[in-house]
């Protein structure tokens, strides 16, 4: 086995387990029956510790062990999982994450502050552990025994001690295979407490006959642990083929031990002594059982004892069932998903992109050659390529739920910090979007959520005065809408203060004092760069710090952001993002000799060019439709074509037109980013290569719309425009 690979797997799994642990911690206090979640939390810590032990990551083991001990007490009910403890455990989860990161980065020592955090946490954990320590054994013990009282302690069926009895005989080759039996015992000690060990030296020959590199040792171990049998067996996984391992569960009938003795190579009487020394059975029980056995026919009676006891201890049955179920589940999971490197996926998407371009080229040639058969086969090919493209892109789609769930923790922490009672409602977590988008949207969303908590949710007194429930709500929602994904962050707080924002904006010179602005335009001002740089923003009822950064990040993803608010009732920030950053369905239009691409999802309709004389808007079925002449915008030479067209584009519920010379139809468009030199160019979001090899520019609709809106505003303030709109 490649240890490096195994370590990588451990790191990945460790982080996943920590995520599970965190989400379980966040729901546990709200659950009526928390046992399931508590078990999940315990399992996570336990598994991390176990795997870390295998890799000799002592730091991780040492810390996690304390966490696990505390969780164990929570599990048996002797410690109550209250709010404080949840916070502590969340912090512990973070610290384990730190430790795992340190392993990943190959750092031997933690940074000073991390080490200090660890020490503080350990101290707090120990404080929690010690609190109930005095009464814990007294409470826990009787409860456990009560469950088994029904069994009459029959003479031959008396029960053994409440620890596991492990009988180990190592094979001759264990040492030669590079494994040291001692290290397994050390690992075992991390799973519980080794109460007693008897080292069997019977097989060890005298020095003269000794092959010093063979293993002759055996151990009888009394082991106290809450692990199941599979876990204990797991400790010996690496030598399982090379040793004889027998495990007798706690409180097994004495007959079990007798059977064990029968199966072991050593003298029964000696083994009996060993079991007594381990405290697994008492001498009296052993004698009684052995006498019973001797009275009858030995072979039959051993069987009788075994049959008579009917059941094995409940732990064994439970463990066996759980194991079976687990195996089944992992099998079905394995067959359902494959882990693939993101790099490989990116390469595939790139290739598909090239394929799309090549196919467009082939299609063009086929049309030019006027070969019907070729055209026909090309169209079949095009259909297939489209499907390949869609499924390739689908591979990169991930559910947004994972991102949303991260915010549960943010809400929990920030709300606590601010002393507000806030619930996070999540919906639409199954909505899928491109992995690269998901990765980049995390930070802006985080900002929005923090803002909603910090500035959005009003204080408890204010909420009471407004007749709202004391618990504030921040909601995250996601859904698909015409080729984009919409993510909403809403709160039921005080909403935005329209007047204050407007005053501030005028003060800062962002808008002219006399200008009439719609509500949404005013709210939109908070995303302006000049608006939110200073502290004044915070004393303005305001949302603010860094909203312009949020907008910039979202725009960089070819997305847009808007805000909508009802005073006193709350606010809702709407983020729209393209589903993918790689390939879109485009609508090609021509202006002069240039070709532009409009994302097809945004194209509403195409109409013949008309215009109100002298103005940049037209009458679309009684509505003012502002438009942009692309020829003028991009300064393209040549006279307009005889029959121009308007492409009506719709974005965020608003429409505007693009005046073009020719409509060239839809085509798949592979988006190639523009080089940095063109980063400042407004209105272009990328480029694409046409089948002919020419370059087409992809229009940035949101930016163009902004320009068109300004046109409309000019129109609205213009008397002639007003009459035209009424017409």
């Amino acid at each position: 086995m490649n240890l490096d690979q195994a370590l990588q797997t451990f790191l990945v799994e460790g982080r996943e387990l920590l995520e599970d642990m965190e989400s379980a911690l966040l729901v546990v206090s709200a659950e009526a029956d928390p046992s399931e979640s508590v078990n999940a939390i315990f399992r996570a810590a336990h598994t991390i510790k176990g795997s870390a032990g295998l890799f000799g990551l002592d730091g991780v083991v040492a810390f996690t062990h304390v966490v696990e001990s505390l969780l164990d007490q929570v599990r048996d009910g002797s410690v109550v999982l209250d709010d404080g403890l949840v916070s502590l455990l969340l912090a512990c989860g973070d610290h384990i994450g730190c430790l795992i990161d340190a392993v990943d980065e190959d750092r031997r020592e933690l940074a000073a502050d991390e080490a200090a955090t660890g020490a503080t946490l350990l101290a707090r954990l120990h404080a929690q552990l010690n609190r109930p320590a005095a009464q814990q054994p007294l409470v826990a013990q009787p409860v456990q025994e009560a469950g088994f009282e029904r069994r009459a302690p029959a003479s031959e069926g008396g029960e053994g001690a409440d620890h596991w009895h492990i009988s180990l005989r190592f094979g001759r080759d264990v040492l030669r295979n590079g494994m040291d039996p001692l290290s397994f015992l050390r690992y075992l000690a991390t799973l519980g407490r080794i109460e007693h060990v008897v080292t069997l030296h019977d097989a060890v020959p005298p020095l003269e006959a000794l092959d010093a590199e063979s293993c002759w040792l055996g151990f009888e171990i009394a082991f106290k642990s809450d692990c199941d049998k599979a876990t204990i067996e797991g400790a010996f996984e690496f030598v399982i083929d090379d040793c004889a391992l027998r495990i007798v569960p706690p409180r097994s009938r004495v007959a079990e031990y007798i059977a064990l003795i029968g199966n072991l190579p050593e003298e029964p009487s000696r083994l009996g002594d060993i079991l007594v020394r381990c405290g697994s059975v008492t001498a009296h029980e052993l004698d009684a059982a052995l006498i019973t056995q001797r009275q009858g026919e030995p072979s039959e009676l051993l069987g009788c004892i075994l049959a008579g006891q009917g059941t094995v201890a409940p732990q064994v049955v439970e463990a066996a069932l759980a194991k079976q179920k687990q195996v089944k589940e992992t099998q079905s999971k394995e067959s359902q998903s494959v882990r693939v490197d993101a790099d490989k996926l990116d390469r595939l998407i790139n290739l598909v992109g090239e394929l799309v371009i090549a196919a467009a080229g082939a299609n063009l040639i086929a049309r030019r050659a006027r070969n019907v058969e070729l055209q026909e086969s090309n169209s079949t090919l095009a259909g297939l390529i489209e499907e390949v493209r869609d499924s390739a892109l689908q591979l990169r789609m991930v559910k947004i739920g994972g991102t949303f769930n991260r915010f549960k923790r943010v809400v929990y922490d920030v709300a606590r910090e601010l002393g507000k009672d806030i619930e996070l409602k999540v919906s639409g977590e199954d909505t899928e979007l491109d992995k690269t988008v998901v990765e980049k949207i995390g930070d802006p969303l985080m900002h929005l959520v923090r803002n909603a908590i910090d500035h959005g949710i009003d204080s408890a007194e204010l909420r009471a005065a407004r007749g709202k429930p004391p618990q504030g709500t921040v909601a995250l929602n996601a859904y698909h809408e015409s080729g984009s994904i919409v993510i909403e962050v809403s709160d039921d707080g005080g909403g935005l203060n329209r007047e204050k924002i407007l005053a501030k904006a005028i003060d800062r010179g962002l808008v002219d004092a006399g200008k009439a602005l719609s509500d949404s335009e005013i709210y939109g001002l908070i995303f302006e760069p000049g608006f939110s740089t200073a502290e004044q923003v915070t004393n303005l009822s305001g949302r603010g710090v860094g909203m312009d950064v949020v907008k910039r990040n979202i725009t960089a993803l070819r997305g847009s952001v808007g805000i909508d608010s009802t005073p006193g009732q709350g606010a809702r920030v709407t983020v729209r993002l393209p589903l993918t950053l790689a390939i879109i369905n485009g609508f090609q239009v021509g202006v002069g000799k240039s070709v532009f691409v409009v994302p097809l999802d945004m194209v509403d309709e195409c109409i013949e060019f008309t215009a109100e004389p002298g103005h940049d808007y037209t009458d679309l079925r009684g509505q003012v439709l502002p438009f942009i002449r692309l020829r003028e915008l991009f300064d393209i030479a040549g006279a307009p074509a005889a029959r121009q067209n308007i492409v009506v584009v719709k974005h965020m519920g608003q429409k505007f037109g693009l005046v073009v010379d020719a409509l060239m139809g839809e085509a798949q468009t592979v988006i190639k980013p523009l080089s940095k030199m063109f980063a400042q160019v407004q209105g272009i979001s990328g480029s694409s290569i046409l089948g002919s090899g020419d370059v087409a520019l992809i229009l940035d609709v949101p930016v163009l719309m902004h320009q068109a809106t300004q046109v409309r505003q000019a129109a609205a303030s213009h008397p002639v425009g007003a009459s035209a709109a009424a017409a």
């Binding site: 190592f170 264990v174 040492l175 030669r176 040291d180 039996p181 001692l182 015992l185 050390r186 000690a189 080794i194 007693h196 060990v197 008897v198 080292t199 030296h201 060890v204 020959p205 005298p206 020095l207 003269e208 000794l210 010093a212 590199e213 293993c215 002759w216 040792l217 151990f219």
Partner: protein, 101 residues
Amino acid sequence: MSGTARTLALDGELTIYRAAEVCELLKTALAAPADLELSLAGVTEMDSAGVQLLMAAKKSAMASQRALRLIDHSPAVLEVFEMLDLAAHFGDPLLVPAAPH
């Protein structure tokens, strides 16, 4: 009981890597007709193979009616003895360091 005790000091690793070598060393030491004291003060590491060697040496010594005493257990040896509960088996007094770690 024969003769005065000889002392053999084992040091370094008492592990599988040196098992064959130490085995020969012990055989030679036990060939002499005298009790043997094994000083373990210099043992830095001990594994199962080391434990076996000590057990085998003890068996050989007993078979030829001689005593094998282990003295000056190093911390590494003490740790293993404690884990495997071997003190009683060898029956030699263990000197527990004043401030065990």
